[in-house]
Structure formats: structure tokens, C-alpha cells
Symmetry: C2
Subunit: 247 residues, 2 copies
């Protein structure tokens, strides 16, 4: 009997050219497909929810596939992890309805962008935080982040490398916090994201944090609908896909 | 003019065979000596405070050396970091009195042992937390830790690989906390430590956490003065040297 299985997938993106299968480079999706082939003996191509970029990490990306296996759905993750490298670990597996599609069903995705904000880098944090030594004013970043919440046209926050007709998206929350360990965490939850959107938001909030723009400038940046109005795209390795909530 | 310089050194221990120079393997001390040679043109052998084991990490180990350089002491760390790999980063440099010795002067050292306590590993945490899937009772671990505070003979918590005559040491504090991210952090501050002492304490507190021993058994384990009375040596990669306070 054919069943649709949903996997929650965590990975360190350092050694992968992103999620999506591409010729002649190693991607998370490809490694997952190969491990599933070896486990199930079926030719499987998973459908991923978030096609994360090269170097981006994940605690809870979602992938879906159909299988005839008799392995109980909840056990697949354990068997699969035996066949995966240590930088990709499936957190859970379960059966979902046959029409469940990880990108087409309504969902709330959460990303976190982490900045190590101090004078000198910390070696153990170099792979999953962006080291930035100029002092960031957290309050200003929080104020700037507030302007992004709600439904807006985020064309200014979309990479020009893609041509997306509809650039209106809804951000449910965008918060900025600084931990005792000097990590500034920008956490963004939304129902959909444009290409590089979180990294461009992070790059723009950094400009607010150093006073290069004022928090209220965010309104104008949104209105301009022009990529060059926003800040730079922050580096990939600071970004982590935290999780996806299907409602 | 000869000056004595103190460095605070952070590193990810993953790629090093520990701190101390050894033939035919790469160590943190050796990489530091080489970088200092290239920066200063002097043949330098640093003296380290904590000779951490292979795989152990550091946020604040201390190293000392003498130099004739005219580089201002506070600037040495920046120049040195240019010559160091990204997994070793000097956090600060300053001049200290000529008789300052990082192991002979009175100090309070703090170590942290981190355990990822959940059913499934998280890839981004695999290098600096020990993954342990059986549920740990934090309260029991805290109670057990309490017995270690104070001045005791820690012979039961010393590797049999060394022969140390005086095995009395003073633990100023030993605390156990669990974070929202399922990380159990055992933090130990003391004026001196025996070989493998923190890792054996961690291994023994884990036994208390799973109910294999009772917190009050710690008293007997100390009294026995026998390595086999304590728990196993927890893996090196969970351990981080946090910092050293010279008073």
C-alpha cells in the first residue's frame, strides 16, 4: 500500500550546496534520496518544503515522499539516520494524507538569522553565526523589525536573481534578541518567503543596528519596491531554517 | 626590552590532538608557537594553563610567553589572529609581571561539560555537545553535584593513567542546568583539577541522572579513593575550558 511520509530534517549546511538537487555538486536532497533508496529499495525523490541555499542550516525542514515500505512510518527516521552522514539527521517521520504537499499546503515557516556581535570571533560558533564586530543597537533593530510585520510587498527584499510576479508576503512576527553569549538572533515567522528574503532582511536590520538607516526608513524601503533600497544580503551561514508549522 | 605577554586563547578542539606539543600530531600549542614565530621572528614556546585533551574546546585557556617585540601588548592578539587558522582565535593579549606563571599562580578555572539530552541528535551541535538519549533527571544530577563542592580527595575522579601523589582538590562550585534547547550544562569551577577529573565527574553525574546511582552515593565514591568507584569518563568533545581567573 502506497503511503505518503513526512520527514522533519535537520542539517548543518556547511558541506552542502544547499537543498535542491543540482548537477555535479552534493546537496542535502540528493543525500536524502540516496539514503532512502538504500533503505527502501525504491527510487525516491523527496519534495522539500524550503529549498535552502548553500551553507544554510536547518533544525526542521520538511520533506515528503511516497513509499510501499512496511516499515512503520514513525520508525523510518531511525532506520534512515543509520544511512545518513552525521551532518544530516531526520528528527521525525510520520504518515500524512496523500494530497499533502509541503509547499502547496498552508504553512508558517520560522527562520533564525544569528549574528555573533563582539570584537573577536569565537571558533566554535563560526559555522552557524555571522561574525560582525561593529556594535549593534538591539533596540533600533527591534524597531526596524516591527515595520516588517504584517502583509507587505517585499519586492525590495527579494533577490534580483529571480523574477517573481507576486511579491506580497505576510510576516507574522519578526523579533530581535541578544543573548548573554553576544549572539543577536533575528527570528522571522511568515506564511511565505521570497528568494533570499530573510538574508536581505538580516542585512537591512544590521544597517539599522549600526545607525546607517533609521528604523522608520523601513517603511520607505518597502514602498520603493526596489532591491537596491534595502541592505546587503547577509551571509548564508548565519541562517537556520527553524521549523514549519502546517495548520 | 623583554616583556611577558598573557594570551587568552579560544579554540575548537575537533581538529587538534589537544593542547600540548607532541611528536607527529598537530596540537593547539604548536600552531600557536608557529604563528608567534611568524609574527615576531622569535623562537617562542608558550606556557599553557590548561593542557586540554584531544577534542576538548576552549573559550578562555591562557598561554604566556616572553618577547622583545615592539608591538603594543594589547595589539598582539589582532596581529596573531591573522596568522592563525579559523579554529584558534586569541581573545585578548596583555602584559603581565615577569614572574607570572599560568599554572603556578593561584587561579580559579571554570569548565563546562555539555550534554545534548534528547531522543535524536542535532547536527549543528555534534562537535561540542555529547549526545545522550536516555532521559536525565536534572534534580538528581544537581543533588549529586552538591556533594563535590568543597575540598575533597578526588582520587576516584582521577584517571589511572597518571600517578598523582596529592589528589586533594577544591571545587568552588558545581552546577547543573538544562536549557530550552535540551542542553544539560555541568559547570565546574575549582582551584585545580586532576587528569580527566571533569570528564569523570560528568560521567558520574550522568549515572545519577539515569538513576543508576543515588545522589548520596557520591559521598561513598569520594571516600573509596578508587577510580572504579566513579562513573565512566565522558567523551572529550562535550568539554569546554570556559576561562581562568587569576586573583
Amino acid at each position: 500500500m502506497m503511503r505518503r511520509i513526512k520527514l522533519v530534517v535537520a542539517y548543518e549546511g556547511t558541506n552542502y550546496c544547499g537543498w535542491q538537487v543540482q548537477p555535479s555538486v552534493i546537496t542535502v536532497e540528493e543525500v536524502l534520496n540516496n539514503a532512502l533508496y538504500h533503505l527502501l529499495g525504491e527510487d525516491i525523490q523527496v519534495i522539500g518544503a524550503s529549498r535552502t541555499d548553500s551553507g544554510v542550516h536547518s533544525l526542521g525542514n520538511v520533506a515528503v515522499f511516497d513509499t510501499n515500505t512496511r516499515i512503520p512510518p514513525e520508525k523510518i527516521c531511525y532506520a534512515l539516520n543509520q544511512r545518513l552522514p552525521e551532518d544530516i539527521v531526520v528528527q521525525s517521520s510520520c504518515e500524512v494524507p496523500a494530497d499533502f504537499h509541503p509547499r502547496r499546503c498552508y504553512s508558517e515557516k520560522t527562520y533564525e538569522y544569528r549574528i555573533l556581535n563582539r570584537k573577536i570571533p569565537i571558533p566554535t560558533l563560526r559555522r552557524d553565526t555571522y561574525f560582525y564586530y561593529r556594535h549593534l543597537d538591539i533596540e533600533k533593530m527591534q524597531q526596524a523589525a516591527g515595520y516588517l510585520e504584517g502583509k507587505h510587498d517585499f519586492k525590495s527584499f527579494c533577490s534580483i536573481k529571480t523574477s517573481m510576479e507576486d511579491t506580497v508576503r505576510e510576516i507574522l512576527s519578526c523579533t530581535v534578541k541578544k543573548s548573554q553569549e553576544d549572539i543577536v538572533a533575528i527570528r522571522i515567522t511568515g506564511t511565505g518567503f521570497l528568494y533570499n528574503m530573510v538574508r536581505i532582511i538580516a542585512g537591512t536590520l544590521i544597517l539599522a543596528g549600526i545607525g546607517e538607516i533609521e528604523p522608520e526608513d523601513m517603511r520607505e524601503i518597502l514602498q520603493k519596491r526596489d532591491r537596491s533600497a534595502a541592505g546587503p544580503t547577509a551571509p548564508a551561514h548565519g541562517l537556520t531554517m527553524i521549523g514549519i508549522q502546517y495548520c
